[in-house]
Each structure stands twice: as structure tokens, then as C-alpha cells.
């Protein structure tokens, strides 16, 4: 490796399109061969149910925005349900999840009931965080949902801490950090993945690559094609890319990465290729996306595709309808309960700054 070699150890960057322009990126076709994957049917029904829960929760939240009942901002995962659902099914109940502001789906996927989630969005006293956290900070420690983090990158480092703790306590738990494509360009990504690799922590880094930061295509500001997976070699850890709209595909990788981490094999990166149906946040119509790209991805919707797969492998339409309607009923009931809950008490402002429950910083 020494000597004045003029070899280029890595490829020169390929030309990228100019500012504000980008080539559309289309989904790979759904992989029907996974119909025969080694996944029990009950697991698949669970994957379907969780995808339905996320979809219907997000749609409901969207409706509530339109009714102007949600204050502040909000970031939906419509179209991106498969990976949250897959990990929700693949994780043990005491494993740890860390999500971003786009974390409603990751929260419900860990078994958190919809009512406190919706109530939090509406800023009610019965909200998951008593109204203090809001849309971007959903957390349910009792469900292993260790928080939603709204500043890009930080939670990758924090997930390492939970993974380290599991190792110190020899508990066999793993930690999963979900993040976006845009997050791969921030320093904390580098520090976190490197750190996990150095200590062989049971951290699984799941990049949900929906092709865009807020309004800028990731390809415009990233010199490699797979912003997370193509960087794993910089840390000597395994990585894979996957159709992020195929719950089975993600589930298989999740199972494997979790097993790898749990058995002491260390961290890995999974990059899911996916797309959001709507804009970045409530205010964004998403017009920066080429029409045909959007169209292609709308047709590559994880939920109808999975529905079709289940029919192909012999699940009855009736059983699926039952799942859909039972989820709908739960979301309806949760919405009503949340809507009728009172706003937080004024006293709530002053609680839980400190472990003693209070806020006093002087005597």
C-alpha cells in the first residue's frame, strides 16, 4: 500500500445533473419470487396489519391537518410503511427503536396504541408526551420506542448508547436507528457508524432512502448512488440495499441483521429504496418531483403490492378486509377519544424538567 502509486483506489465521481435538476429514479419491479420466501403466514399477516396501521394512522393524521386540528408541523410516512412494519415485526419487544421526526409509523409499529399518538398530534393532555413533545418526538419507552429525534443525525449516536448498554448488561437486546437519505451527509452519521463498528455494537442502521431530503434530490448533493450502503466499506461493516416497499424483503434483511447484531456480529447498514406519497411535511406539495417518477412510485405502493402477494399465496380477500376494517375501527375510536380529550393543564408546563418532576433551577 505504500510507495508513490498513482493508482486511484476508488472510482472518480460520475457527473451529476445541475442544480435543481435531477434524473428521475424509478422503482425496481416488485420481486414476486419473494412470494415463496421463508416467512410464516402469521408473520405475513402481522406485516400486513402493521402496514395498514401505519397507512391508516397517517391518512387520519392528514385528515386532521386538513381540518386544522394539528398545530405545528408534521412529516408523514405514507408510501414508506413497509420498513417500519417489517422491523416492528422482526424486533423483540424489549429491543430499542430510534426514529426521526418522520416517526409515527415506527411508533405504532412497536405496538404503541393509536390513541395517545393521535392525542399528541392534537396537543391533548392524553397525548403520548402529554402534549409536550408533539409530532416530531413520539416516544414510548415501555414499548422500546426510545424516541423520535428532530435534529438530523443525533439519534444514530444515541442508538449506539442503547446498544452499548445492552452489551454491558448482556441483555441480548439490539438497537435500530431509522433515518433518511439526507442524514447520511451529516457528521453524526459518520461518527455513529464508525463508533458502532469499533465497538462491534448491536446497532442496526436503517436508511429509508426516499430519494429526497426536504425538497432537494439526494443525488444532487451526494457523490455515491447509495448514500448509506455505499459508505459501509468506510467502516468495514456489512450493508445491503433493498426494495423498501416490499415488507417481506425488508423483513428478511431485518431478521438477519438483528440476528447478526444479537449474536455479537456487530452493526450493519440496510438501505431501503422507497418514496413518500406526499410532500416532506404538511406544507409541502412536493412539486419538485418529476411527474413520471411520482407516478411510477405511486404504482409501486407497498400496501396494494403486499395485498396482492397475500392473495397470490392463498390468503383470502375476506381475511384481509377484516384486518383493514379492524384497523380502521381502532383508528376511528382512537381519533374520537383523542378529540374529546382536554388540552394539557397549565401546570404541565412546569413538570418533568428534572427527575424530581419539577423545574426549579434555583432556590
Amino acid at each position: 500500500m505504500s510507495g508513490p502509486s498513482t493508482d486511484v483506489d476508488s472510482p472518480a465521481p460520475t457527473a451529476r445533473p445541475g442544480y435543481g435538476q435531477h434524473d428521475p429514479i424509478y422503482p425496481e419491479p416488485f420481486d414476486d419470487s419473494l412470494d415463496h420466501a421463508d416467512i410464516p403466514i402469521e408473520t405475513r399477516l402481522e406485516l400486513y396489519r402493521k402496514q395498514q396501521e401505519i397507512r391508516q394512522l397517517e391518512q387520519r393524521l392528514y385528515d386532521l391537518f386538513v381540518q386544522n386540528l394539528v398545530k405545528g408541523t408534521s412529516h408523514l410516512a405514507l408510501g414508506m410503511e413497509a420498513s417500519g412494519a417489517a422491523f416492528g415485526v422482526a424486533l423483540n419487544s424489549d429491543d430499542y427503536s430510534f426514529a426521526t421526526y418522520r416517526g409515527h409509523g415506527h411508533t405504532i409499529a412497536r405496538g404503541v396504541p393509536p390513541e395517545p399518538i393521535i392525542a399528541e398530534m392534537l396537543g391533548r393532555s392524553t397525548g403520548l408526551l402529554g402534549g409536550k413533545g408533539g409530532s416530531m418526538h413520539l416516544t414510548s419507552v415501555e414499548h422500546g420506542m426510545m424516541g423520535s429525534y428532530a435534529i438530523i443525525g443525533a439519534h444514530l449516536c444515541i442508538a449506539n448508547g442503547a446498544a452499548w448498554s445492552a452489551k454491558l448488561r448482556d441483555s441480548g437486546q439490539v438497537a435500530v436507528a431509522f433515518f433518511g437519505d439526507g442524514a447520511t451527509n451529516i457528521g453524526a452519521f459518520h461518527e455513529a457508524v464508525n463508533y458502532a463498528a469499533v465497538y462491534e455494537l448491536p446497532t442496526i442502521f436503517v436508511c429509508e432512502n426516499n430519494l429526497y431530503m426536504e425538497y432537494t434530490s439526494i443525488g444532487q448533493v451526494t457523490p455515491v448512488a447509495n448514500p448509506a450502503a455505499d459508505r459501509a466499506s468506510a467502516y468495514g461493516i456489512p450493508s445491503t440495499t433493498v426494495d423498501g416497499n416490499d415488507a417481506d424483503a425488508v423483513y428478511l434483511l431485518a431478521r438477519e441483521a438483528i440476528e447478526h447484531a444479537r449474536s455479537g456480529g456487530g452493526p450493519s447498514i440496510i438501505e431501503t429504496k422507497t418514496y413518500r406519497h406526499g410532500g416532506h411535511s404538511r406544507a409541502d406539495p412536493g412539486t419538485y418531483r418529476p411527474d413520471d417518477e411520482l407516478e411510477a412510485w405511486m404504482a409501486h405502493d407497498p400496501i396494494p403490492m403486499y395485498h396482492q402477494r397475500l392473495l397470490r399465496i392463498g390468503v383470502g380477500e375476506r381475511e384481509l378486509t377484516e384486518i383493514e376494517t379492524s384497523v380502521a375501527a381502532a383508528i376511528d375510536a382512537a381519533t374520537e377519544a383523542a378529540k374529546s380529550a382536554p388540552p394539557p393543564d397549565a401546570d404541565a408546563l412546569w413538570t418533568n424538567v428534572w427527575a424530581d418532576g419539577g423545574w426549579q433551577w434555583r432556590n
Binding site: G18, Y19, G20, K71, G72, T73, G123, R124, G127, L129, G131, K132, G133, G134, S135, M136, H137, Y149, A150, I151, I152, G153, G182, A183, N185, I186, G187, A188, M213, E214, Y215, T216, Q220, V221, T222, Y288, P343, P344, A346, A348, L349, W350, V353, W359, W361
Partner: protein, 324 residues
């Protein structure tokens, strides 16, 4: 003379300076193609093109580093940090590099740059997207700190900031973006370090900044109807700090109130209060009172956030009681 929103004033101010000086460039996340997440920079890409208006990766350290290195070598960058809370991911660039370069090199290094940012609350964004961190900046020697309260001042202070030979942190208030006022046509240029007396009254001096200025004015109106006549000073910049205007006013009114959106401990009002309690002690007729967001993180719910951040009512109440 036409109505201009505070939001529109941002791009007008930047465009004014980019037209004047070809060495001015602008960079940040989603600022070019999309015109910024607060739509404050719409139109700049079209007018000035992609070489001078640059969309960046989510890399705040790289953004400010690029701004600093360019400023050191003949360019005048304006960088956007989308929310001021995100200064925390690039604070080293601000406090250890940009702020100290000139002094450490005994004057060799110039850093004429502007970092503009969306600051403040009352927008229900929760604890990580609502902070008022102008006091973080004020605590750091070597950077100037500006926080306009009106559309006119956005344009005029932006111009002053861009022309300033030293680094300036420019705090725009998110909850003011939709406010508007009549703004003169043509070039506007204000001066850094001059407070503006927005209302004159003899009973007390209220010093406020950014969103707290309209709230202080509203409180003053309320109090005026009760016979309490307040001076309201809009600080406009924290560094340089126009203590002369404050001390002069306190000499007349003998009472000082500060209205701060930052959480209490070590807020800018503490600095102002301590200066007055030293240099105008003998002018004072009663305690110096600070009205601040309590020293706690900001909650997301509208009900709770409105309790946390000083309102016109709370300002008026506090002053009424103190002057009783």
C-alpha cells in the same frame, strides 16, 4: 412604498446586496431550487443563478466552513442555518473558528460573512425547532448578533450585515415571517448597533427584541390606556449593543424591564440588567425586572407554548404589578 412581509424582506435584502456586489453568494439547505423551507429566498436562484445560489447537503459544519473559507479569501457569503436550533451541530464553526479567526491571527484573517437563521417559537414546532438562541451568540466574543423585528429592518439590517467586514449572525423570527409593513422602494441600509425607540413614555423603559417588540408595544398600548406610559426600545442588535439608548432612557424613566424570549438563565436581558444595575444604579427607582420564557425547554402544544413565551398580557401584568 409598498406592503412587504418580513418573509419577502429577506429575499429583497439579499437580492439588493447580491445586485450591488458580485462577490456576495448564498448557500444553504433547500434554499435555491425550493426557495427555502420558509419561502424566504424564493426567486434568488432565478435571478442570480446556481453559481451564486447554492443548495447544499445536510452538512451544517461544511456549510459554515465553506462560508468561512470563502470569506477569508475575498468572497462575501450569506449562509443559511435553517433553524437556529441547528447551530448546535455547527457551533464549533461559529464560536471557535469564525468568531476567533481575526483575533487569533492578530488581524490577518477577514471573515465578512452573514449567517441567517430562523429563530424563535410560538409556531408549535416543539423543543428542538423553537428555541431563541440569540443569547448563545451574544455570549461569544467576535461575532455580531442582529435580530430584526420588522420588514424594513430585515432589509436594512441585512444590507448592513452583508457590508460589515465582520461575521454577523442574523436571527430572523419565524413567527414574524407573515407580518408586514409599508417599506420604502429603493435601497435600504440601516446601521448595526443602533437600537430604535419604538414608543416614548416616561414611566418605564421596556427593552425588547424581535417577536418581543410587537408584544411589548401591545402591552404598552394596554398600559397606556391605564395611565402607565412606557418607552419601548427595539434593540435590533445585541452585538454591538446600544447601551447608550438604554441608559439614556432609564435616566428619564428610572425603571427598566427587559422582555426576552430566550429562557431566563444568562439571557441577553441579564446582561442589559447587569449593565444598568451597575452604570445607572443611582437612576433607578425600583428593581430591574426581566420578563422571560421560563428556564425550561419549549413544549409543543399551543396551550403550553403560549404560557411559556412572554405574551403582551404577561408583559403588561408584570409591569403593572411592579409599578404599583
Amino acid at each position: 412604498m409598498a406592503q412587504l412581509t418580513y418573509r419577502e424582506a429577506v429575499s429583497r435584502g439579499i437580492a439588493q446586496e447580491m445586485r450591488r456586489d458580485p462577490s456576495v453568494v448564498f448557500l444553504g439547505e433547500d434554499v435555491a431550487g425550493a426557495g427555502g423551507v420558509f419561502k424566504t429566498t424564493t426567486g434568488l436562484l432565478d435571478e442570480f443563478g446556481p453559481v451564486r445560489v447554492v443548495d447544499t447537503p445536510i452538512s451544517e459544519q461544511a456549510i459554515l466552513g465553506a462560508a468561512m473559507g470563502a470569506a477569508m479569501t475575498g468572497i462575501r457569503p450569506i449562509a443559511e442555518i435553517m433553524f437556529s436550533d441547528f447551530f448546535a451541530v455547527c457551533w464549533d464553526m461559529v464560536v471557535n473558528e469564525i468568531a476567533k479567526a481575526r483575533y487569533m491571527t492578530d488581524g490577518q484573517v477577514d471573515c465578512p460573512l452573514v449567517i441567517r437563521t430562523g429563530n424563535g417559537g410560538s409556531v408549535r414546532f416543539g423543543a428542538q425547532h423553537s428555541q431563541s438562541v440569540e443569547n448563545w451568540a451574544m455570549a461569544v466574543p467576535g461575532i455580531k448578533v442582529v435580530a430584526p423585528a420588522t420588514a424594513h429592518d430585515v432589509v436594512g439590517l441585512m444590507a448592513a450585515a452583508v457590508r460589515d467586514p465582520d461575521p454577523v449572525l442574523f436571527f430572523e423570527h419565524k413567527a414574524l415571517y407573515a407580518t408586514k409593513e409599508d417599506v420604502a422602494d429603493g435601497e435600504i441600509l440601516e446601521e448595526l448597533g443602533r437600537a430604535r425607540v419604538r414608543r416614548e413614555g416616561s414611566d418605564c423603559t421596556i427593552v425588547a427584541l424581535a417577536l418581543m417588540v410587537p408584544r411589548a408595544l401591545e402591552a404598552a398600548e394596554q398600559l397606556a390606556s391605564e395611565g402607565i406610559d412606557c418607552t419601548v426600545i427595539d434593540l435590533r442588535s445585541l452585538i454591538p449593543l446600544d447601551t447608550t439608548t438604554i441608559l439614556d432612557s432609564v435616566q428619564t424613566t428610572s425603571r427598566l424591564f427587559t422582555v426576552e424570549e430566550n429562557p431566563q438563565a444568562c439571557g441577553w436581558g441579564a446582561e442589559v440588567a447587569s449593565i444598568v444595575a451597575n452604570e445607572a444604579f443611582w437612576d433607578l427607582d425600583g428593581p430591574v425586572v426581566r420578563i422571560t420564557t421560563p428556564h425550561l425547554p419549549l413544549p409543543a402544544s399551543d396551550v403550553l407554548e403560549d404560557l411559556a413565551i412572554p405574551s403582551a398580557e404577561r408583559i403588561a401584568d408584570t409591569i403593572r404589578k411592579a409599578l404599583d
